[in-house]
């Protein structure tokens, strides 16, 4: 375990992937569960066999709010909870719709939003509602 990159914690590795342009989540080699938030071992089977796996990031808006208390000069923005099809829920924002037009049940796909200081995962609405 002298390789410094292997000693990074799961949180740092998650954001490191994002900085490198990849939305990756841990999947458990033993029980195949997709894990989020990142952990040091699988929360279901407790095996420390989590593998970073690039994601297509398709999912459905589980809930959403338009935040009206914003930094000076900024418009209200959307915050959503997204149920990814791989079985995890994460916070995000639906980026390609006006905040007030985001709806629960919308189908979305993840994308890395490039930013010098804070790259992050955002979502774009795609055609069709959840079945």
């Amino acid at each position: 375990m002298n390789d410094r990159s292997n000693s990074l914690g799961a949180e740092e590795q998650y954001f490191s992937h994002i900085r490198n342009g990849s939305f990756s989540l841990q999947t458990c080699d033993a029980c195949k569960l997709t894990v989020f938030p990142p952990k040091e071992a699988c929360p279901a089977c407790l095996e420390p066999s989590l593998v970073w796996t690039p994601q297509s990031g398709e999912g459905t808006v589980y809930s959403c709010t338009t935040v009206h208390v914003t930094e000076k000069g900024k418009d209200p923005h959307n915050v959503s909870l997204i149920n990814l099809d791989v079985g995890i829920r994460m916070m995000g924002t639906v980026d390609n719709r006006a905040a007030g037009d985001v709806r629960i049940g919308m189908r979305v796909r993840a994308r890395i939003e490039e930013s010098a200081s804070n790259p992050r995962v955002v979502f774009d609405a795609v055609d069709g509602d959840a079945k």
Partner: protein, 390 residues
């Protein structure tokens, strides 16, 4: 759950201080005044206090600050902090310590100057976000706590057809109770239409769906039932209790429409040997209007999804079928960042029959439901009663 702790302890003293605005006074000073009033109300001296339960959102070792300030030497020291429900949760810890004979008189106390303090709510929020970051949420710039509860409310509306008008009913009911309480901070008339038309904070919440931001301190004294008989005031007994928690951040709340009150309430009712129909008055930690609806459902006062309909037509307001938040709650009475102690104090005052115009006639049982942690994360339920229901 074993119910051999039912009725083993009683609240014998309550006190508040600086509720509303208390400019120029520190948190520990406000706490000190409330503590002094509560101890005197229990007919005790500060030197009789040998157990302490307290929490504060800014100070890591707060029980030590309180012990030093009050000049006490407690044998039971409790600083559990699970958010604003902590002071309801402390009742169970006090109960265990008292029943085990570790101590005789436990003081539960809280104080905050978040409204007028020079290191105010905004600065504290920023400091806390640095010390306790939510790395998977922070990039999305929530305005917390409102945004987390707004996500809950939006999902509740989607699943059950709850409306913004239902939420507004909760705010208006709280205000109508506050109008009967001379100690309440916000007592101006408030209509459903005014709630709906007010400044939006985080959709679906307007400013009136969000609790107040006030200063204030609250304290109460808990003792064993055998010692409570000599108290100056009518003792209020702890009949049942439960605490539950499942997450810290809203992203990790398993089902946004179901709070851990489902578990805390079940445990509390089981210990008390009571059901919802036995409860005369209810104090719910109403950080946001949706909290009241969630708690009524999760505690079993109505079915899941029917909380909106339950609060319609003033049903929890003065004159309604179930008196809820008779002091005006955190929405209209007082909310110094952590409200749990104030919900307990109002329940005690109702069971003592000392609530004046807002008194619920012949109230013998009260339920207190604490909420904590930015996202309905922790819930603590206490069922209190007079001697008649022991």
């Amino acid at each position: 759950m074993s119910s051999n702790l039912r009725g083993k302890i009683a609240i014998t003293g309550v006190g508040t201080a600086g509720c509303g605005e208390a400019p120029g006074r520190s948190e520990i000073e406000l706490l000190g005044e409330a503590a002094r009033i509560a101890v005197a109300d229990a007919g005790l001296k500060m030197s009789d206090i040998d157990g302490i339960c307290t929490a504060n959102l800014n100070v890591a070792m707060w029980p030590l600050n309180v012990i030093e300030y009050l000049g006490i030497r407690p044998s039971f020291i409790e600083g559990t902090n699970i958010g604003g429900s902590a002071f309801v949760a402390h009742l169970m810890h006090a109960m265990l310590a008292l029943d085990a004979g570790i101590c005789n008189n436990v003081l539960v106390c809280y104080g905050s100057n978040q409204r007028t303090g020079t290191f105010g709510r905004r600065e504290r929020g920023m400091a806390r976000n640095s010390l306790d970051p939510a790395p998977y949420e922070a990039p999305y710039k929530l305005f917390n706590p409102p945004s987390s509860y707004a996500l809950i409310a939006a999902r509740h509306m989607y699943e059950f057809g709850t409306t913004r008008r239902h939420l507004a009913e909760v705010a208006v009911a709280a205000r109508r109770w506050a109008q009967l309480n001379p100690e309440a901070f916000s007592r101006d008339p408030l209509s459903i239409d005014e709630v709906l038309a007010a400044r939006m904070i985080s959709d679906p919440f307007t400013v009136y769906d969000c609790c107040l931001v006030t200063d204030g301190a609250g304290a109460f004294v808990v003792t064993r039932a055998d010692r409570a008989k000599d108290a100056r005031n009518k003792p209020v007994y702890l009949l049942g209790h439960g605490t539950a928690a499942s997450h810290r951040t809203i992203s990790c709340m398993p089902d946004l429409t179901v709070t851990p009150s489902v578990d805390s309430g079940k445990r509390a009712f089981a210990m008390a040997g009571l059901t919802t129909s036995d409860i005369d008055v209810v104090q719910i930690y109403d950080a946001f209007t949706i909290n009241t609806i969630l708690a009524l459902e999760d505690l079993g006062f109505c079915k899941k999804g029917e909380g909106g309909a339950f609060v319609e037509n003033g049903n929890i307001a003065p004159g309604g079928s179930l008196p809820v938040n008779t002091n005006g709650g955190g929405l209209s009475c007082v909310q110094p960042n952590m409200y749990g102690a104030f919900a307990v104090i109002e329940a005690v005052r109702q069971l003592r029959g000392s609530c004046g115009e807002r008194q619920v006639q012949s109230a013998r049982t009260a339920l207190v439901n604490g909420n904590g942690g930015n996202a309905a994360a922790s819930q603590s339920t206490a069922i209190l009663g007079t001697e008649d229901v022991l």
